[in-house]
């Protein structure tokens, strides 16, 4: 089988890396340091019908390294998926999330596994942040039984019910009423937990979203509607699809918050705020200002409706992984060299089951 062939090559490559990883030690132990560090979000929050949370976010070295690890792994996972798709090992649709990692990671840091998340088809990284493994991701993408949906779902249908991750939905906008239904059930069961229903700027104009928001507000459901605004609904820019692209205001009677979605700490702060709000007062909208580097899907080069300058500009100015890397360096938690080694170590650990390391070795750190 293909995977076992890859396994032997990975163990070969893994053996080569082992001495490298242990050779350089870090100045401070990274996994246990929880001395508080305060960081400022990139920009202040903007709100509609509610207060704004503080720009100062509490964190620590452990969390910083966790964010770095998780987002860097997600970035490489998506790039690897790109290569696999081009090699025709992944079929059908493949919607990649690179650039948007901060939303998945920041959200997870603010909540527990009792809270539910439901999203659309750009779901690989959300699945991983809820505890899914890389093996489950790649096996599912390649249609294998080891996949999270045993090969029956595909890219758009990842689920992890034991972590309250409800998919993975292909019909634009459908996940929002479903998410409000999850929130209804949480309230009905008195679980003191909330649901995050993620959708894009394209789905933000769907009628069923407003139907579900209306019911959620009437019934005070603990539903948080999160618009991952990457500014393009497939190939249509937000200003061409929405008369009012201020998605955080579109809830009208429902409060909203606009958040820098490329800043994991802003996302974390906003989600903490939203959870507290939703448990007491019902639905709230979070608009995450984010960006995807890839096109809408693998069949979209992503450059017919936006300029390459725009893409490189965002990558240089606002990249979420880069932001965390800079924070780690500026707080003197590790050197550049140490971070490079650490990343390789993280990758090696994550894929030490039967996925070829070679795929990742191709990517320059």
């Amino acid at each position: 089988m293909a995977l076992s062939r890859l396994a032997s090559s990975s163990s070969r490559s893994a053996d080569l890396l082992k001495p490298l990883c242990s050779a350089i030690s870090l100045r401070r132990p990274i996994s246990t340091d929880t001395t508080p560090i305060t960081v400022e979000t990139s920009v202040p929050f903007t709100s509609h019908q509610c207060d704004t949370p503080s720009r100062s976010v509490q964190t620590n070295a452990k969390e910083l390294f966790t964010f770095f690890r998780d987002m860097a792994l997600m970035r490489r996972m998506e790039i690897a998926a790109d290569s696999l798709y081009k090699a025709k090992l992944i079929r059908g649709f493949c919607h990649l999330y690179d650039g948007q990692e901060a939303v998945a990671v920041g959200m997870e840091a603010a909540i527990t596994k009792k809270d539910c998340i439901i999203t659309a088809y750009r779901d690989h990284c959300t699945f991983v942040s809820r505890g899914g493994t890389l093996l489950e991701v790649f096996a599912e993408l390649m249609g294998r039984q080891a996949g999270c949906s045993r090969g029956k779902g595909g890219s758009m249908h990842f689920y992890k019910k034991d972590s309250n991750f409800y998919g993975g939905h292909g019909i634009v906008g459908a996940q929002v009423p479903l998410g409000c239904g999850l929130a209804f059930a949480q309230k009905y069961s008195k679980d003191e937990a909330v649901t995050f229903a993620l959708y894009g700027d394209g789905a933000a104009n769907q009628g069923q979203l407003f139907e579900a928001l209306n019911i959620s507000a009437l019934w005070d459901l603990p539903a948080i509607l999160v618009c991952e605004n990457n500014h393009y609904g497939m190939g249509t820019a937000e200003w061409r699809a929405a008369k009012s692209p201020a998605y955080y205001k579109r809830g009208d009677y429902a409060p909203g918050l606009k958040v820098d979605g490329m800043d994991a700490f802003a996302v974390k702060q906003a989600c903490t705020f939203a959870k507290e709000h939703a448990l007491k007062n019902g639905p709230i909208i979070l608009e995450m200002d984010t960006y995807r580097y890839h096109g809408h899907s693998m069949s979209d080069p992503g450059s017919t409706y936006r300029t390459r300058d725009e893409i490189t500009g965002v990558r240089q100015e606002r990249d979420p992984v880069e932001r965390i890397r800079k924070l780690i360096l500026s707080h003197d938690l590790a050197t550049e060299k140490e971070l490079k080694v650490l990343l390789t170590k993280f990758i090696y650990e994550a894929i030490s089951m039967e996925i070829s390391l070679d795929l990742f070795m191709v990517i320059d750190i």
């Binding site: 539910c116 439901i118 999270c148 949906s149 045993r150 090969g151 029956k152 779902g153 249908h157 689920y159 992890k160 019910k161 409800y166 998919g167 993975g168 939905h169 292909g170 019909i171 459908a174 929002v176 009423p177 479903l178 998410g179 409000c180 239904g181 999850l182 929130a183 209804f184 059930a185 949480q186 009905y188 069961s189 009628g207 069923q208 407003f210 139907e211 579900a212 209306n214 019911i215 009437l218 019934w219």
Partner: protein
């Protein structure tokens, strides 16, 4: 389907067959009589009482006591947390119901008629029916979608369509269609207890009809199996699926003894009962209210041709609604829905082949 003929029969030929009817009724005069409405109401009541996860959702199910009074008294008994009046937003509330089912609750979502279910059909098919398969069993969706289906009286084209064929074609759904009070109670209870999405197609014209029910049916643990049809009336000359006890009685006068099968379950279809019956009688008439093309009768015919072809002595006939949007005028509406006479004519054709096949109405 069974309902319409009953209604028409009662209206048109009541006097002629009254003796036959009262003979039938007095046979079971010892048993209690309940209306289909009472049967559905009691089934909902009992299932809500037995399982706190069951809740009702739909337009006018609460304070209005139900658009057709099916949910009468349930708001008072179980409170507004379990009997929820929704705004007129089928896509929204159906999605919410399915999401609640994902989490583990057991919603019973009412559509005022199944015509309005088209607004929510994406959630029924893509969010409910397919999720168990797509998630390889992680997500189960124990939801029931219920409401009146098919023609009523004089409500026009947009309020009269039968959706049995549409929903029954979809893997992942179960589709039930009760006829009498026993069916209504047993099948609704089975639907609510079922871990998969069930489309429960009622009939508005039958809600007020009374049927005898035994003590067993009235017991709160009563339940009918999904996927089993019932032989309402045994016969030997022709099999009629889905419809018209009364038609069988008319046929008896002409010496044709029809075996009438009440399908109860459209998906899964009880192919074995149907085929066993056709192997006995050698002739089949399928009757339905919905449009003829790609209908339930077409599926039954295909099943019989695949499994029992050599037993057929005559081509399978389908009696269906007219291939036209339902008209309003009473005489046109009558012509657009199968009548007892249509079934009798078809049965005679199947038995004698003496009258050429009429073009489908």
């Amino acid at each position: 389907m069974l309902a319409i003929a009953r209604q028409r029969m009662l209206g048109q030929s009541f006097k002629k067959i009254l003796p036959a009817v009262s003979v039938l009724r007095s046979y079971s005069s010892a048993a209690k009589q309940i209306t289909v409405r009472e049967a559905l109401n009691s089934a909902l009541d009992e299932e809500m009482s037995a399982d706190p996860k069951v809740f009702l959702m739909g337009e006018e199910v609460g304070e209005y006591q139900g658009a057709y009074k099916i949910t009468k008294g349930l708001l008072e008994k179980y409170g507004p947390e379990r009997v929820l009046d929704t705004p007129i937003t089928e896509a929204g509330f159906t999605g919410i119901g399915v999401g609640a089912a994902y989490y583990g609750l057991k919603p019973v979502v009412e559509f005022m008629t199944f015509n309005f279910s088209m607004q929510a059909i994406d959630h029924i098919i893509n969010s409910a029916a397919k999720s168990n398969y797509m998630s390889a069993g992680q997500i189960s969706v124990p939801i029931v979608f219920r409401g009146p289906n098919g023609a009523a009286a004089g409500v026009g084209a947009q309020h009269s369509q039968c959706y049995a064929a549409w929903y029954a074609s979809c893997p992942g759904l179960k589709v039930l269609s009760p006829y009498n009070s026993e069916d209504a109670r047993g099948l609704l209870k089975a639907a609510i207890r079922d871990p998969d999405p069930v489309v429960f197609l009622e009939n508005e014209l039958l809600y007020g009809e009374s049927f005898p029910v035994s003590d067993e049916v009235l017991d709160s643990s009563f339940c009918l199996p999904i996927g089993k049809a019932k032989i309402e009336r045994e016969g030997k000359d022709v099999t009629i699926t889905a419809f018209s006890k009364m038609a069988a009685e008319m046929l008896e006068k002409d010496g044709i003894y029809a075996e009438v099968i009440n399908l109860r379950s459209i998906r899964p279809l009880d192919r074995s009962t149907i085929n066993a019956s056709v192997r006995k009688t050698n002739r089949l008439i399928t009757v339905e209210e919905g449009f003829p093309q790609h209908g339930v009768g077409a599926e039954i015919c295909a099943s019989v041709v695949e499994e029992s072809f050599s037993y057929l002595d005559a081509p399978v006939e389908r009696i269906a609604g007219a291939d036209v949007p339902m008209p309003y005028a009473a005489n046109l509406e009558r012509m657009a829905v199968p009548q007892v006479e249509d079934i009798v004519r078809a049965a005679k054709r199947a038995c004698y082949r003496s009258v050429p096949l009429a073009a489908t109405a």
